[in-house]
């Protein structure tokens, strides 16, 4: 489903990747762990087309990450960034905007699944009335996951998805993600993912 082939990338003379290879099959769950600053997030940014590789090729399904393909690729990916970079506006307005994008228009934010996911993530309706900057780190993270579940895209790129969640919620999230028929790459320092045997682990040095 996702392939990095012999990827080379330098950041101001310092090699982040030199000859990096990785293959993720359909519906596989992969945990990537490794020290901070070793380029884990960059891996996601390459797939999203935000970072260009110096050499090598990257594929998402049958599509190579190139300019003509990039919109089609992005529409298959859900990216949960570390800071959940929603813009500063009322929560409801941000959600409306996301679902008004052409790529997401056929996913009507139907009340039923939204309620079900909000319950799963322990989100209150009150949250929708708040402004984005008023949310706590944990609320922001859960809101990001809500968008993830509702967009229902086939590939999930989750960058530290449990960092601000409490123990019970982490467990619930783990079960939900592992049961989902999705290809998932998780970047996390959280040991909870390691306890799960369906999760492949890619160690990084």
């Amino acid at each position: 489903m996702i392939r990095y082939e012999d990827v080379h990338l330098d950041f101001s003379g310092k090699a982040v990747f030199s000859g990096f290879n990785l293959k993720v099959s359909e519906n596989e769950k992969l945990l990537i762990s490794g020290p901070s600053g070793c380029g884990k997030t960059t891996l996601f940014r390459i797939l999203l087309g935000f970072e260009k590789v110096d050499a090598g090729r990257v594929f998402c399904g049958d599509l190579e990450v190139t300019a003509p393909n990039i919109r089609a690729i992005r529409n298959q990916l859900f990216y949960l960034s570390q800071d959940i970079d929603f813009r500063n506006a009322p929560v409801a307005a941000v959600l409306d905007e996301i679902f008004s994008f052409e790529a997401n228009r056929d996913i009507k934010p139907v009340r039923a699944p939204q309620r079900q996911y909000m319950q799963l993530l322990e989100l209150e309706d009150e949250l929708l009335k708040q402004n984005m900057p008023e949310l706590s780190g944990g609320e922001r993270q859960r809101l990001g996951l809500l968008v993830c579940f509702m967009l229902n895209r086939p590939i999930w790129l989750l960058d530290e998805p449990t960092a601000s969640l409490d123990k019970d919620l982490r467990k619930k999230l783990l079960d939900h993600v592992m049961a989902a028929k999705k290809t998932v790459i998780i970047i996390s320092h959280d040991n909870i993912w390691r306890q799960c045997d369906t999760c492949q682990i890619e160690r990084w040095s």
Binding site: L48, G49, F50, S81, D83, F86, I98, N104, L151
Partner: protein, 261 residues
């Protein structure tokens, strides 16, 4: 009829206020004295020069010379816009040149042809001063608009890219920055239109009255020029922002860092 001439010595008399200004500047450690002197010196030199060549520009009054002069004015304005907005001149000169010239030229010729209805629409006496006012104002608002837009993006690039990742098109993801920049750029003219006459008597009107025009004529010209400035600014800042959106990003919708300096 015209305003009384001022002799050079009387003009120099205005510099007496500079003494307390410089003294206070020194006391308050504003580190501005050098800049103050330099700015006053430049203004005096540049305006003297303008006085000299305007004299000849008006005397010869050749359409092509006037147009050439306007093109030079626009060029200088574009440099100033790009430099103040910390953007690379080599990358954006052409598009910003068009963004300023097109609205300024259109509004200017429209005013001369249909509003003031002068026989020679390239008459230096009308063309140059009106163009100067439109240009100066649209230079200022382009600086506000472009600085605002790129500063917003520099600061919130992750938020912009996140919108892109969630499925937004470039224009959709940039809409908040575009809107904020247009508003910031045209707010000053809107405020000044709303308070004109109450808070301030504008320079052009004052000049015309001193020059001997009756107030009603001066006021009509002032309305013409305010509307002219407003239209020019609005179209100009929209154009330059749209060009920036079109040319400032690569085919992956990522901001071209080589544009910024």
């Amino acid at each position: 009829m015209g305003a009384r001439d001022i002799d050079i010595l009387s003009l120099a008399l205005l510099l007496v206020f500079l003494i307390p200004v410089l003294w206070l500047g020194g006391r308050f450690k504003l580190s501005l004295n050098r800049t103050i002197l330099w700015s006053i010196l430049r203004m005096t030199f540049q305006l003297s020069l303008v006085g000299l060549y305007l004299k000849y520009l008006f005397k010869f009054n050749l359409a092509w010379v006037n147009i050439l002069y306007i093109l030079v004015m626009v060029t200088v304005a574009v440099y100033s816009v790009l430099k103040s907005s910390r953007l690379r001149i080599s990358k954006l000169f052409g598009p910003i040149f068009i963004s300023i010239l097109l609205p300024v030229g259109t509004v200017l010729l429209f005013i001369n042809t249909f509003v003031v209805r002068i026989d020679n629409i390239f008459d230096a006496k009308y063309l140059i001063p009106i163009c100067g006012m439109l240009l100066g104002n649209s230079m200022r608002n382009n600086i506000i608009g472009l600085s605002n837009f790129f500063a917003g993006l520099r600061e919130h690039e992750k938020i912009y890219l996140y919108s892109i990742a969630l499925g937004g098109r470039r224009m959709q993801a940039l809409a908040p920055y575009f809107q904020a920049s247009v508003i910031a750029a045209i707010n000053p003219i809107l405020a000044s239109m709303a308070t004109i006459g109450i808070v301030s008597l504008p320079g052009m009107m004052t000049g015309q009255i001193l020059g001997g025009s009756i107030p009603m004529v001066a006021i009509k010209y002032q309305i013409v020029i305010m509307l002219g400035i407003f239209y020019t600014q609005f179209f100009s800042v929209c154009l330059s922002l749209l060009f920036s959106i079109r040319l400032g990003f690569d085919e992956f919708d990522v901001l071209r860092k080589e544009l910024l300096c």
